[in-house]
Amino acid sequence: MILKGIAAAPGYAIGPVFVMKDNQVKVERKTLSAPEAKAEVVRFSEIVNQAIEQVKEIQEQAREKMGDEQAEIFESHILVLHDDEFVGRTKEVILEKNINAEAALAEVTEELVAFFEGMDNEYMNERAADFRDLNKRLHGLLTGAKQASLSDFEEPVVLITDDLTPSDSAQLDRDRVAGFATNIGGRTSHSAIMARSMEIPAVVGLKDVTEQLHDGDIVILDGTTGDLIVHPSDEQIAAYRVKKENFAKRKAEFHKYMNAASTTVDGHTVELVANIGNPGDAHNAHKNGAEGIGLFRTEFLYMGRPNFPTEEEQFEAYKEVAETFGKDHPIVIRTLDIGGDKELDYLELPKEMNPFLGYRAIRLCLDETDMFKTQLRAILRASAFGNVKIMYPMIATIVELRAANAILAEVKAELDTAGIAYNKNLEVGIMIEIPAAVLVSDQLAKEADFFSIGTNDLVQYTMAADRMNEKVSHLTQPMNPSVLRLIRMVIENAHREGKWVGMCGEMAGNLVAIPLLLGLGLDEFSMSASSVLPARVLMSKISLADAKEIAAKALDMQTADEIQQFVQDSFPVIEELL
């Protein structure tokens, strides 16, 4: 039997299950006399103080096992335990209804849980779990009930439970729990996030798994697909043992590449960096081995608000990213790429027939000079705190590059006059995503400090195929010889002027495309954070010489499929990493 859930944390676990059902707290309701109720309030206050002490201890455990970020959730538990709307309200209910603390607490918790579950925001829905967690803890202390124990099992178990509260997760013993599966939850629920940060394989959202399984049932938990195989055959167990071993090996191997340079077997080093959309992503990119940021999309600062972000707000966001990586690591900040399909309420732009060919990005910024200058000032100021670079999107002509640089020069002059610090040698590059820019990249390379190829748009413009239109999606072919030849042209023209070339489209993280791009001479690969380590492993197992040879041959081939197959056949290591 296979139960299908939501894959929450990758990895495999094989073993007996331990069903932890005590998550549903059974509450005994007692009616008290008025004096008894008063005493009950005092008892409850003492229990709350004990709970605060307990949570502080768990917070320390969480900090050790999962890091500061996960430990922070317990900070909010402590704050709630000091809050009148939770603790005070419970005391009120005890006195108003003359009932025991357990019953009053259950009522207050139920109200809050219902309230937060009713909100149309998954981050707020998650707060319901916090209140359940606190209720369980307080109830346990009030009744003196003992927790079920995992130590009854000799071998590590697969924990089966309704939901794993933050405190449950923090107290999990990694040596005893091989994995866990829950009835409720999704990819972003507490339990899933905790499982990923503790690297325990997990499947969530299995609905009634606690009812379907019994202690000691043997299961295979596949945290990569979300499958829970109940009573597996010997063959299945053998197959999953191999998968599990490979997963562990791969993880250990990837880990070795965490802080390594991205160097080929013949000693050629490239830069593997990440694409991010907000300052928080930078931490994640850093944790995933990125050497810097190759594309910081700044749109998020402008979206979902009624007015333009101030210089100060932008400065703080850019500085935060620069400081996350430190002085030596590049941070490429792309100026605002808005307009067309990405709208801002406060920038009243007319609807367009062809937004991708319309009034957007640098075209818009060159008109909205106040908005553009504010952003440039903020980026320049942040450049005093790290290796920040500026990149203009959607450059089609050299006139646009010159116009943007003229505005930048004005802003620099203003900062000079005001005596505000910035990096005077800051590099200014452009996105290459329009075929027109490719064809004059020899000229652009004389005036830009670097290029970054935006393949998503470059492919769409080259093939004249809307990437949002499913009917023509088969034409979205980054590996088409036409696109590859454009990429080659850009790189050759830049290198002739001694400039570096990066790529920040999805193609840069594609393991099949990487050897081709390496062979064509690409210097910097910018991709989603999770692609960085696999890309580095691949890079370290191939040679530049081979990549050059394969790329030269590939560009003479005729179809994308042919090229794809040829690269995969030439580098069997890709298969192992896919």
Binding site: E75, S76, D83
Partner: protein
């Protein structure tokens, strides 16, 4: 005193931002309250109340202060409200 601020944190005012607002508000002796566009008003010194507002990115919230240090409180709490936490 009062002033309206906009939530900028992409994931809204969940546990961590709410805790930060509360801690900042609690450093002032004056009354500090938050009022959402729909009129719901809560104390900025209580965790549950702040969470109950369910503030999302782009939402506007008015900070109302009254008493000792009301001007400083208004500014300091407003700053936390507009911070990005992710």
């Amino acid at each position: 005193m009062q002033q309206t601020f906009t939530i900028k944190n992409p994931t809204g005012v969940h546990a961590r931002p709410a805790g930060a607002i509360l801690k900042k508000a609690s450093t002032f002796a004056c009354k500090v309250e938050l009022e959402k566009a729909d009129g719901t008003r809560v104390s900025a010194k209580g965790m549950v109340g702040i969470l109950k507002l369910g503030l999302k990115q782009g939402d506007q919230v008015t900070v109302i202060t009254e008493g000792d240090g009301e001007a400083e409180a208004l500014q300091a709490v407003g700053e936390v409200i507009e911070s990005i936490f992710e």
